[in-house]
């Protein structure tokens, strides 16, 4: 049996405004698989991805999952992207419990995947939750002197998770958010957010936490800056910092403004630029040597991939973690054995300088979050937000607001 192929089903947004996440996560996973396969596979098993596009739509994600399990008969589900999509799939996993279908390392920090009832061992999380991300972020904001926090979030589970995280974190400081606004899922960069910006700015925030996708957050930043907001804007890891930066850079070239200063990106993985980390080195190396091609059947929309990205790095880590699990599974792969193998992965070294607990069920592999800013054309980690300045001074002088 050794030397066979294990296929993992990945349903993600490969089209629509959120496609950047899917693309990058897929690239990271593929790079890891290639890296592993090039070295004879994981325990002799070649790893392979089966892809389906859900365009960040929960119903499609559910259909894809059913297809993966019942038609494609994939070994496990891997690398789903998005909270609402994964949230919808969750009951289905319960349904497939008898078949021991596992959902591995979804790209979401939703609570519900981490607050599963006892015995529910269908999901394996790698990344930190949104609650942790927002808590760390709010802590940093408060520590940096920002006490008027507003939340701009997606009007769905993801957005609500982020909003809830911020609310709870602020609650610890007996603070409440000064204003909030929502937007509908699926917004593109072209969408007009001036109404939302006005709502947010009505609370006179000095820091805004955005819980959204890259195009929506980028568009919000664009309109907020246009409305004269000079405060801090922060995003969560799901906002795909690399693509967001790319969108804003593109717009900055057109309008001649700097949109990236004053932006803080919360990340669940350290910066891939950090050469001290073996994982970052491995990722960069893998991306160098990988011959990644875009999944042709899944790219109706044009997309220029990032060479390296946080999401990609996360994907790479997920792929490597999976390889480790497969290797531990032994020569006779089965879903149950994979679960058992994962159960043994209490403290796995993924090359991040700390062990990860990858056991299925409640909890997650990584708990640390990282704050990064974009400066000099690259992302760099920051410890404190005190020095982060937002907006262009000239723009602040203009002051659209009275």
């Amino acid at each position: 049996m050794a030397g066979g192929e294990l296929v993992f089903g990945m349903s993600a947004a490969f089209s629509g405004p959120a496609r950047g996440l899917g693309m990058e996560y897929h690239r990271g996973l593929s790079a890891a698989f290639e890296h592993v396969n090039a070295r004879g596979g994981a325990g002799g098993w070649r790893l392979k991805l089966a892809l389906r596009d859900d365009a960040y739509d929960p119903a499609t994600a559910m259909r894809n999952t059913i297809a993966f399990v019942e038609q494609d008969r994939v070994f496990a589900l891997l690398g789903y992207v998005g909270t609402p999509t994964t949230a919808r799939v969750l009951p289905l996993l319960k349904h497939y419990e008898a078949r021991s279908v596992l959902l591995l390392f979804p790209l979401t920090g939703a609570d519900m995947l981490r607050e599963l009832p006892p015995g529910h061992t269908c999901v394996c999380n790698l990344r930190a939750s949104y609650l942790e991300e927002t808590r760390n972020l709010v802590n940093a904001l408060v520590a940096g002197g920002y006490r008027r926090v507003a939340v701009f979030h997606q009007a769905d589970v993801y957005g609500r998770n982020g909003w809830d995280g911020v609310r709870r974190a602020l609650g610890a400081y007996r603070l409440t958010m000064v204003s909030e606004a929502t937007y509908r899922r699926g917004a593109s960069f072209e969408q007009d957010f001036r109404r939302e910006v006005a709502l947010i700015l009505s609370g006179q925030p000095d820091a805004i936490v955005t819980v959204g996708t890259a195009p929506a957050c980028a568009a919000f930043v664009r309109d907020a800056r246009a409305a004269g907001y000079t405060g801090l804007v922060s995003t969560l890891s799901f906002a795909d910092a690399d693509n967001l930066a790319k969108l804003l850079q593109g717009h900055a070239r057109k309008s001649g403004r700097d949109y990236l200063s004053g932006l803080v990106f919360s990340q669940v993985v350290p910066s891939y630029e950090d050469e001290s980390l073996p994982a970052a080195r491995a990722y960069r190396q893998a991306m160098e040597s990988a011959r990644l091609s875009r999944p042709p059947q899944l790219v109706p929309d044009e997309y220029v991939p990032q060479r390296l990205s946080f999401v990609g790095f996360e994907g790479f880590l997920a792929g490597m973690a999976l390889a480790e699990a497969v290797e531990r599974m032994g020569p006779e792969p089965s879903r149950d054995r994979l679960r058992q193998a994962l159960m043994t992965m209490k403290a796995v070294d993924l090359g991040l300088g700390e062990p990860a607990d990858l056991r299925p069920g409640p909890g997650q592999g990584l708990r640390r979050t990282y704050l990064t800013v974009f400066s000099n054309g690259r992302f760099g980690g920051v410890d404190s937000l005190r020095g982060v300045k937002g907006g262009a001074p000239s723009f602040a002088a203009k002051g659209a607001r009275p």
């Binding site: 769905d156 606004a181 109404r195």
Partner: protein, 1008 residues
């Protein structure tokens, strides 16, 4: 008035309906809205409750993300416009608004917090959002508000939409019903008001005494009853009025009539009227005035203006007046009854003073209570005068009557004489008429009279019979409707001829009998004119010449057709061919072909199976040919088994070829004739290039030639005539002409081939051979020209000539023999014999024997010194006659030798049957005897023939002996005679005589 009523009613209806429709739509929309609202509210409540109850634990957990996931799913169902979840403190935990919770909702949420905590019932209200949308808002407490609230909003737009569309539908329906009712009401009301209006109109007319029309309104309702009573009332009134008017009118008219008549009588009586009262004129009339010469008053003027009131005596003279009055008195005294008239006659005086007698009738009457006398005066001057004149004229009349009576009696006598004469003449005419009538009636020819316009005036019974009618009347009636001629223009031709020549003779036409059968008639007619030369009519005879015409056409057909097959004969074919050639000359694109066919072996079939079968075969073949050809083609039989076909209007030569193939195929099929299977075939000659010919005969000849070529190549073939054949034919023809000439002119010559008795080694005779040297100097071998001569019939004069010449030669040979002394032949009893070739053809000619006899007699030669050489084929053809002729020849003493024996089909029995006395062994067998070509077969044949000859006592001659070996062989076999180049070539007569003179008949010089 009628319109106003109608419009008023309709307007009322419109108003009522509009009111009703508005009311009902308002009511129903309200009901619908209420019903829908309550339904929506119930549904909203149910959803709110299901969210609240279904997610109680989630809500208590206050995990906003999980709550959001739950409400997202509910909202995706699509019925709710929003869901908000708030905790017990009124803080919003999750909502589905973007970008923010509207103020109105926020207020409700904060209001819900303050509500009575024990309230478990959901609160439902309707509120309007910032966007203007109206929603049903349900605030559903969770765990009586301890677990917070679920708020949800349901858009009422669907309710509004449903209500509006329901109202619209209802309005449309109402409108439709209303329009329908309106139409019905219009019709109904119009029915009532219309009838009322017509009743009113009717009443107006009755009031105006117009009874001409009646009211047409009739129905069972009140209006109908009203109309009925109006009608009867009007009828009664009309009756009364008209009766009254009529009575008055009648009375008036009566009075007026009486007055008018009295006036007229008074005014117009011829006698004068005078009414006198107490001496004064009371009344008079114009006649009275005229009588007395007084001026007549204008008509119509009243009496008072005239003489009325004047003294009577003053006007009319005292005499008259007295007569009137006096008598009155007298009468009055006499007490005579009043009114009784009295007549007096007095002399009256006119105004001009002239006296005239007048008769007065006086009557007394009471007028207006006073006595008056009414006098009628009559001028009797004329009466007196007339009396006088009558006396005179009566005397005159009596004289005249006497004279007249005398004259009349004279005339009467004269007339009686004339009547007697006329009776005599009339009898004579009647007799003549009866005579001619009899001729007319009983004539065999039809006799008729027609008007110059062509209308039949009369016809006799014979004519009726000709036209198949029962009586002449019927015929004339029929002919007046339809011309008897088949050709409608024929009558016109007849009439024109008639007008031009005054008669027609033998005017033949096709006419139609009553039965429709077409007959031929011949008409002779002449014009009948009156004394002034005006045409009265035409009369003439009709003869039914149908039988004659049919006979004629039959004759014509027979003249141009073959009686056996009914096909055209040569004459007709040539005619058609000539026409085709003419057409081809006129039209370059017109192509035709001529085919000539004869049947192979027809003669054998005819001879062996009988003429009956032969005829049937010919009919079959002709049928085949006709069926293969098209209707435009001409298939002719030229007699015997020869047919000619003219294919006209060909598109390509291959049409003719295809036709030929088909014909030959069809003919060669085995045929069952009277139970015998007969197989035949035909040979066809075709001329395709018909352009260069002038004469049809030449064309036919070339077709024939091509046919012969076909036949020569075998049976059942066809051959297209070509140039080469043409040349050959020409050559043959030239040869034929030359040969025919040669027979008379002497370019033919005889040579003699010696026949040698090889046992005795001496000359035993000659075979006479004919040589022909043509004008071009070429010598033609007999094998070339003899068949030609046979074919063309030249063989008869040729053979006669040859035989005559041979006889003369034999005579000279005889003289030479005598001079040379007797040969050994005399001892052996074998005479010196000269053979002459005779064509087989002669053996069909019974005159042959006489002819030969005559020739021999002419040269005074003995038949015994001559022998006729014939070929075997003679014996085969026409066995019976050949045998008879052969017998006669033998009786005559002529020898009979079969030439080329063994090559034909003759059986030995023929030799006996034809009493042949010699046979000649064919040179082919003899040639087989030579050493080089030692042929055991030939040798055996020759030997057996020699033995046969010896056995039957025949002379056996070997022909074509050319070598010593052959001679030796023959001698060894015992063959008695031989001829050939070994001995001598054919010799001219002089050399032959010389040979005899040398004594060759005793011993052949230099016998090899």
């Amino acid at each position: 008035m009628r319109g106003r009523l109608l419009i008023r009613l309709l307007l009322f209806m419109v108003a009522a309906f509009g009111l009703m429709a508005t009311a009902t739509s308002f009511l129903s929309s309200r009901e619908l809205k209420l019903a829908l609202e309550s339904e929506y509210k119930a549904r909203a409540r149910a959803i709110a409750r299901s969210i609240a109850d279904g997610n109680t634990e989630l809500l208590l957990g206050e995990s906003a993300g999980n709550i959001q996931a739950a409400i997202d799913q509910h909202q995706e169902m699509g019925e709710l416009s929003y869901i908000v979840v708030a905790n017990a403190r009124g803080e919003v935990l999750a909502h589905t608004f973007a970008p923010a919770v509207p103020e109105a909702v926020r207020q409700i949420i904060s209001a819900a917090r303050g509500r009575d905590a024990a309230s478990l019932a959901p609160e439902i209200r309707t509120l309007t959002l910032d966007s203007g949308a109206e929603v049903i808002h349900v605030a559903q407490p969770v765990l009586g508000g301890r677990g917070g609230f679920v708020h949800l909003g349901m858009d009422t737009a669907p309710i509004r939409k449903a209500t509006q569309s329901a109202i619209l539908r209802q309005h449309l329906l109402s409108l439709a019903v209303f329009l329908a009712c309106l139409a019905v009401a219009y019709l109904y009301i119009r029915g009532i008001t219309g009838r009322l209006a017509s009743l009113a109109e009717y009443a107006r007319q009755v009031a105006a005494h117009d009874f001409s029309t009646t009211c047409e309104v009739r129905s069972n309702d009140e209006i109908g009853a009203l109309a009925d009573s109006m009608r009867s009332m009007a009828g009664q009134i009309a009756g009364h009025v008209t009766q009254l008017e009529r009575t008055v009118e009648a009375a008036t008219a009566e009075l007026k009539d009486a007055l008018d008549s009295i006036s007229a009588i008074v005014g117009n009586i011829a006698d004068g009227l005078l009414v006198v009262q107490e001496g004064r004129i009371l009344r008079h009339n114009p006649a009275l005035l005229r009588m007395f010469g007084l001026p007549v008053q204008e008509v119509g003027a009243s009496d008072e203006d005239g003489l009325a009131g004047r003294e009577c005596a003053e006007v009319f003279g005292p005499l008259v007046c007295e007569a009137a009055s006096a008598r009155m008195v007298e009468h009055a005294a006499g007490g005579r009854p009043e009114g009784a008239a009295q007549l007096v006659e007095v002399q009256a005086r006119r105004a001009d003073g002239q006296l005239f007698p007048v008769e007065i009738t006086v009557a007394r009457v009471a007028l207006a209570g006073r006595a008056a006398s009414v006098c009628i005066l009559r001028d009797i001057t004329a009466t007196k005068q007339l009396e006088h004149e009558r006396e005179e004229s009566r005397a005159l009349l009596e004289r005249m009557v006497a004279e007249r009576t005398r004259e009349l009696s004279r005339a009467n006598t004269q007339l009686k004489i004339e009547v007697a004469e006329r009776k005599v003449v009339g009898d004579a005419l009647r007799r003549a008429e009866a005579k001619f009538r009899g001729i007319f009636e009983n004539a065999v020819e039809g006799i008729f009279q027609i008007s110059p316009e062509g209308r039949y005036l009369s016809a006799n019974p014979a004519m009726a019979v000709i036209f198949g009618h029962d009586s002449p009347e019927e015929l004339v009636a029929a002919l007046s409707q339809m011309s008897p001629y088949v050709d409608p223009g024929r009558r016109q031709v007849f009439l024109e001829a008639m007008e031009e020549h005054g008669q027609v003779q033998g005017f033949e036409s096709q006419a139609r009998r009553k039965s429709g059968r077409v007959i031929w008639i011949s008409e002779n007619a002449r014009k009948v004119v009156d004394a002034t030369g005006k045409t009265l009519h035409y009369e003439g005879f009709v003869e039914d010449i149908t039988l004659r015409k049919e006979a004629e056409s039959r004759l014509v057909h027979q003249a141009f057709h073959d009686p056996l097959t009914g096909l055209p004969n040569r004459l007709l074919f040539l005619d058609h061919l000539r026409m085709a050639m003419d057409r081809a000359r006129r039209r370059p694109d017109f192509h035709f072909a001529v085919l000539y066919m004869d049947l192979d072996r027809f003669k054998i079939i005819n001879d062996s199976l009988g003429h009956d079968i032969g005829d049937k075969l010919l009919r079959h073949v002709s049928g085949t040919l006709v069926s293969c050809g098209r209707s435009t083609d001409t298939v002719a039989r030229f007699g015997g088994d020869e047919f000619a076909i003219l294919l006209e209007d060909l598109t390509a030569p291959r049409d003719a070829i295809r036709f030929s193939r088909r014909v030959l195929d069809e003919i060669s099929r085995p045929l069952d004739l009277d139970g015998r299977e007969v197989t035949t075939s035909g040979s066809l000659g075709i001329v395709l290039h018909t352009a260069g010919y002038d004469r049809p005969e030449a064309l036919l000849r070339d077709a024939d030639t091509a046919m012969y070529h076909a036949k020569a190549q075998g049976k059942g073939r066809f051959k297209v005539f070509n140039k080469r054949m043409h040349h050959q034919a020409q050559e043959l023809m030239e040869m034929e002409i030359e040969l025919r000439r040669a027979v008379g002119q002497g370019s033919l010559s005889l040579v003699f081939q010696p026949i040698v008795d090889i046992q005795e080694r001496r000359l035993s005779g000659f075979e006479t051979l004919v040589r022909w040297k043509r004008a071009n100097g070429r010598a033609i071998p007999p094998s070339d020209f003899i068949p030609l001569a046979e074919e063309t019939g030249i063989i008869y004069p040729l053979d006669h000539w040859v035989f005559g010449q041979a006889c003369c030669a034999v005579r000279r040979f005889g003289q030479a023999l005598e001079e040379a002394g007797p040969g050994t032949g005399d001892h052996s009893g074998r005479p010196f014999v000269t053979n002459v070739n005779i064509s087989a053809k002669h053996f069909r000619n019974p005159l042959l024997v006489g002819h030969l006899e005559q020739a021999m007699r002419a040269c005074q030669v003995s038949p015994a010194s001559l022998s006729l050489e014939i070929t075997e084929s003679v014996l085969l053809d026409n066995v019976q006659s050949a045998r008879e002729i052969a017998a006669k020849l033998r009786e005559l003493g002529l020898g009979l030798c079969i030439d080329d024996f063994g090559t034909g089909y003759s059986s030995l029995s023929y030799i006996q049957r034809f009493s042949v006395d010699a046979i000649k062994i064919d040179r082919a067998f003899v040639a087989g005897l030579s050493l080089e070509a030692q042929d055991p077969g030939s040798e055996a044949i020759v030997r057996s023939l020699v033995t046969l000859g010896a056995g039957l006592g025949l002379k056996v001659v070997a022909e074509g002996v050319e070598t010593l070996e052959q001679l030796a062989c023959l001698r060894e076999m015992g063959c008695p005679y031989a001829q050939g180049y070994l001995f001598a070539q054919p010799l001219p007569e002089a050399e032959a005589v010389e040979l005899i003179a040398q004594g060759a008949h005793r011993a052949w010089p230099d016998f090899p």
